[in-house]
């Protein structure tokens, strides 16, 4: 069974880019969600092996979605990687406090992304 990655972003551009990179460079299966609320319901249904989620989104941001996912028993241990525009310490700290495992900064570097996902899911 291929590992399943939930990609969450309100930008279709980003979702398209991420899915193309993962399709070309990994064997992971991708599912997508367009905001934090959508991500929670998709995650409960799909039980992804990892969540790659943007921070700034309408309806519910990535920090809040991450917190709420951690309250779901089935998602408590699921690795969550936040995609941020800022790498500053306080911003990253806020991400970790929300329960994420890691973060990656925009614009996404494909090598960095694939290496990071491999470190959680294996090749």
């Amino acid at each position: 069974m291929p590992k399943k990655v939930l990609l969450v972003d309100d930008s279709t551009t980003t979702l398209m880019m991420e899915e193309m990179i993962l399709k070309q460079r990994t064997s992971y299966q991708c599912v997508t969600a367009k905001d934090g609320l959508d991500a929670i319901s998709r995650a409960v249904v799909e039980s992804p092996d990892l969540v790659l989620m943007d921070v700034v989104m309408p309806r519910m941001n990535g920090f809040e979605a991450c917190k709420r996912m951690r309250l779901e028993a089935s998602l408590r241990e699921t690795p969550i990687i936040l995609v941020t525009t800022r790498g500053e310490e306080e911003y990253v700290e806020a991400g970790f406090q929300s329960g994420c495992n890691d973060y990656i900064t925009k614009p996404i570097d494909s090598f960095e992304l694939v290496t990071l996902l491999h470190s959680y899911l294996g090749e």
């Binding site: 880019m17 399709k23 997508t32 925009k106």
Partner: protein, 179 residues
């Protein structure tokens, strides 16, 4: 609102794969995603939103503006902006901005990574000036201001993305421009 569905991607992947074997997969994905997003823009507002998305997610700046060229081609008027103070950048005079002459000839101009020279006479650092071509004529200019602090200048893939912006963003300024 129509947006390319993720299920469409598998159908379009073969075209994406043909972009060039020597190019990094991530770079190909960025260029392709930029083109698809602009070509599928529903209307003018969506095309402007696409410019914002591409600048923020693929290039690395959340400070972007579009200036429209006036009929005499002597001034550029602010048409739309995101993340910048519109009062500071309402008009650009071509006579006072030498780099704009180059851009209005249809060629994008980029700030070199180690250069301290600004591309416009403004306090805000400008990273790129990208002409928007409508029927081959530069009709507006996209100004990309400050890049994210962790971003190491304009990269080769950013130049390719800007070429896509130049050729495919006409709908952002001309609502009835064909894709």
């Amino acid at each position: 609102m129509f947006r390319p569905r993720m299920s469409d991607i598998s159908n379009s992947t073969s075209q994406f794969e043909q972009e060039g074997p020597s190019q990094d997969v991530g770079d190909q994905a960025k260029v392709y995603a930029a083109r698809m997003r602009l070509q599928n823009a529903l209307d003018q507002a969506d095309a402007l939103d696409a410019i914002r998305e591409i600048a923020g997610n693929l290039i690395g700046t959340e400070e972007v503006a579009v200036f429209k060229v006036d009929k005499k081609r002597s001034e550029l008027w602010l048409y739309w902006s995101f993340g910048v103070d519109p009062n500071k950048h309402s008009v650009l005079e071509v006579a006072r901005e030498p780099k704009l002459k180059q851009v209005l000839s249809g060629k994008a101009v980029f700030r070199l990574r180690l250069s301290s020279e600004n591309l416009l006479s403004t306090d805000d650092p400008v990273s790129a000036l990208v002409p928007i071509l409508v029927d081959g004529i530069p009709s507006a200019v996209i100004v990309l201001f400050r890049l994210f602090p962790h971003k190491q200048g304009i990269q080769p893939v950013d130049r390719e993305i800007c070429e896509v912006l130049s050729n495919c963003a006409g709908r952002a300024i001309e609502p009835y421009h064909s894709r």
